[in-house]
Subunit: 284 residues, 2 copies
């Protein structure tokens, strides 16, 4: 039950993007079912945790390397579920999650990347953005919160910004969680039908849903314009939650494996310290 | 295999504290072995996650309630392992972990509680302190970083501070992870013997270890002085890692259960929203 080719399958090719041509309920690169998919993801946990600890260890020894997982997608596409089920597999000490909401007045008074910069993971960390700077070219385009020239400027600004992150040791994993409009309807319906989920529902979600075609177009343009060699996009079919979780797990595993992480060498005299411990007076 | 009385067993009674009289390798309140202990902890995951989601949901609806787990203990006592194995059971989105290191120059220029206040969990969160404001009466006392009068002032300041946190909706779970000097020796030896763990070793650890009796005394005084009704201390036997993890899991479960968390009621007209969703024009 190999999953090693999921990354290649969900990697977005360069060029114009037509999201309607990408299936939302497929399981590209994986031929197992839900039960198998969940088992394979759980089995990834050990290697993910081991590699994460190496990343952390390197960070304590001066390395600048770190991961940044960027999660985008329409409402209900499962950003939270990915955090719970996939990011939840690794040590929470080494994870920095930032959920970007509507900007505050202070944030609005700065360039759109100001608050993003402040949320970057420190060396050794796995950072996760639940929404991100991409909102500034998505909802801003759809809702007209920024002028067209400003939106236009932002695509290039994002590419320059991400190039700088990569130059500083950050491995970016950019994922769009891709659901169908029908799947979103079913998920919103479930939030309305189940009183334990009412708190997750916001009437504004239906207003945004009415703009589905405009959001799809905004995504298509943003994905095309920012699908760079150093920070490529992945479009992850997300109608099946278990595949979404599995695919993101595989992308994290691919990224960590590619770093060839090594345990840091001791920066002290190991034998001298062993001697000290052996010869210490009684401690009680 | 009940664990419901662990909390009562590890709760520190009021009055003078003699840490040498508290076993470090016991499993109070649990009569199972390591395999059973691990299974029981894993089985707690589901209820912990459910209660955490309710806590989070209440937070979105205006409640101020939250948890703050304070972990203290000698080097190698397992604060990190507790985070990985117990705190790691819940959704990382709702967890805010702060590891307190030696204070920065800016932090030193403020009162010792300044940086603590900034690290408090927001409503709905489970906050975890890996070390805490207690370092300011522990290492400060042992190393003489602060004058005796200042240390004296701090015990009362901590009690006032914690009373204020409780008044603002924070449930405090204060834990000292209690290991023996022999167990610490074995853990330091393992870090020296295993090259993959060299990065975890710091020669300064042996300097601190030489001060074990002074640290024990500092702990005994701090525990006695700050063992209040609203924010009591727990001394968790921590030589057995699996029991340490299980006990902290049980304490978190006890705290969450005591809150009687409810799913928030909808603040919108559910039927009207169902109608809107049913009558929407085709979205594609």
């Amino acid at each position: 039950m190999t999953t090693n080719t999921i990354g290649d399958h969900v990697r977005l090719p360069q060029g114009p993007v037509d999201l309607r041509s990408i299936e939302t309920d497929a399981t590209p690169g994986f031929d197992g079912d839900k039960t198998e998919g969940k088992a394979v993801l759980a089995a990834m946990g050990e290697e993910l945790a081991d590699l994460q600890e190496r990343l952390w260890a390197e960070g304590t020894a001066g390395s600048h390397r770190r991961l940044l997982l960027v999660l985008q997608g329409m409402d209900t596409s499962g950003k939270g579920g990915t955090l719970r089920h996939t990011v939840g597999l690794v040590d929470p000490q080494g994870v920095k999650i930032t959920s970007f909401k509507a900007p505050t007045e202070e944030e609005k008074a700065h360039d759109f990347l100001w608050r993003i910069e402040k949320a970057l993971p420190a060396p050794g960390y796995i950072g996760v953005f639940d929404r991100s700077h991409y909102e500034d070219v998505l909802i801003h385009r759809v809702r007209g919160f920024s002028a067209p020239e400003e939106i236009e400027r932002r695509y290039d600004a994002i590419n320059d910004f991400e190039q700088r992150l990569v130059d500083d040791g950050i491995t970016l994993i950019k994922c769009m969680l891709h659901i169908s409009a029908d799947e979103q309807r079913a998920r919103l319906q479930e939030r309305l039908d189940n009183p334990e989920k009412h708190w997750k529902f916001n009437p504004g979600d239906l207003d945004e849903r009415a703009l589905w075609p405009a959001y799809r177009e905004a995504y298509e343009i943003a994905l095309e314009r920012t699908n760079t060699e150093v920070a490529p996009w992945h479009v992850v079919p997300a109608d099946r939650k278990w595949f979404r979780n599995l695919a993101i797990g595989q992308l994290m595993l691919d990224a960590l494996r590619s770093l060839d992480l090594q345990w840091p060498k001791a920066d002290f005299d190991v034998n001298a310290e062993k001697e000290r411990l052996a010869q210490e007076p009684e401690v009680r």
